[in-house]
Symmetry: C2
Subunit: 256 residues, 2 copies
């Protein structure tokens, strides 16, 4: 039995998210179905990050076990032949049999795109959040500084599964503006459920002037979900990459 | 009776093109239907550029006549309420009753995006042409110089409607590369049917080394469609803008 790791990119628009759900088609389900068909054995992938419905990825990671003798780096070409065009495996390689993508310390990078203009752009509608009121990017950058570092992010977490701790480390949160598009890039050692989207929702409240700058620190200190802003829409969010550090040291499973 | 001009942006993925066709839904059809419904009179728009199936636009132009008293600049907000999210009117204004969008001299700008990497990117699949073999951008730039200026572009035109002349002026053709994405930007006084896509198809043949650099001049000189490259896929093409110069001086209707 060999264990194969895939790096998967997808447009989340037409899916209920990574994980199998009763109400629609998931990324995981498509991968299980097409890998099983191709390899003629029952394949069950294990994903590193269970992205929500509508969230995109450039580099989510998953593993599966197989009896196949296809070389690790060739799997990507074989499987891409039968995947739909909105899911493309970017890398494949053989990993040790005890490797588990949710039990490894890693650095995750997410991007969130906000289209800040008077009218929506149909060509950007599927992977950005259209926001009408002008946003003060400089103010958003100042508020973003507050979340960088090790903090209890309890205020920035929607309840789903129980987690042992809500402490996470954000290594950086940068905000760039090109034309009408504001791109937030956040790097951390793990993210709680909806954490990136709630941080963005809070920054937007501050950036459009509805909330003062001080609200970010207050929200963080409160350790109470109601102190933070709304959960920004899924379609603006993309999981960019998961860079693994070392095996066996992750505190727990993480989610976005 | 008043004449209103709209600047329309759309994602062409789900349409048969600008013009009404028997085999599917067109942009024109959606605009006619929703404007007629909103204004409670029969509305027929006239478009400046009849983009092909799958081609996108940030700034196509159309006009229609109406008895409505809605101020010109307010039409965009009213009509956007009932348009699908892949069609968004960006500007609206009242124009003189004799204004005709295909009988006015204008400068048209198109962009063509080529994703040049080993594997497709699902997040770029709807508005770029995925091309596997490495492209030599410097060589493509040199070949691009050949088409700049006033030329007979007969070799770069698929037959559709008869045109009085196949002479057009290309003001500029620039090629930029950012990461894996190559963006061609072409500005001209009008484009023949599929002209931009055939120029791109020829540049790609040269850029990947299948054709020598000299082939661009030969193709132009031949005045024969078979001397040029294939028509590049529609989804990479976006009509960026139509900037009008003056009324009543256009030679004829133009197309892409």
């Amino acid at each position: 039995m060999r264990r194969i790791r895939l790096t998967v990119a997808y447009d989340g628009t037409n899916y209920v998210g990574w994980q199998v759900q009763p109400n629609g088609v998931s990324i995981e389900e498509i991968l299980n179905r097409e890998l099983s068909r191709m390899l003629k054995e029952k394949i069950t992938v294990i994903g590193a990050s269970r992205t929500d419905s509508g969230v995109h990825a450039r580099g989510n990671i998953c593993v599966f076990d197989t009896e196949s003798r296809i070389p690790g780096d060739k799997f990507k070409f074989a499987i891409n032949e039968s995947l739909p065009p909105d899911i493309v495996v970017q890398e494949s390689e053989e990993v040790p049999p005890d490797y588990h993508p949710r039990k490894v310390r890693s650095i995750k990078t997410y991007e969130y795109r906000i289209l800040n203009r008077v009218l929506p752009d149909p060509l950007e509608r599927l992977n950005s959040y259209f926001f009408y009121y002008p946003l003060d990017v400089e103010k958003m950058r100042k508020a973003a500084e507050v979340v960088v570092g090790e903090h209890d992010f309890k205020s920035f977490c929607n309840i789903r599964a129980s987690v042992k701790t809500t402490v996470r480390t954000v290594y950086s949160l940068t905000i760039e503006k090109t034309g009408d598009m504001i791109t937030l890039r956040i790097v951390g050692n793990g993210f709680l459920y909806n954490m990136v989207r709630i941080i963005v929702g809070t920054l937007v409240k501050i950036g459009c002037g509805l909330w003062p700058l001080s609200k970010m620190q207050e929200a963080l200190d409160a350790c109470d979900r109601s102190a933070a802003g709304p959960t920004a829409p899924a379609k603006g969010l993309t999981l960019i990459s998961i860079v693994e550090q070392d095996q066996g040291a992750a505190e727990e499973e993480t989610d976005e």
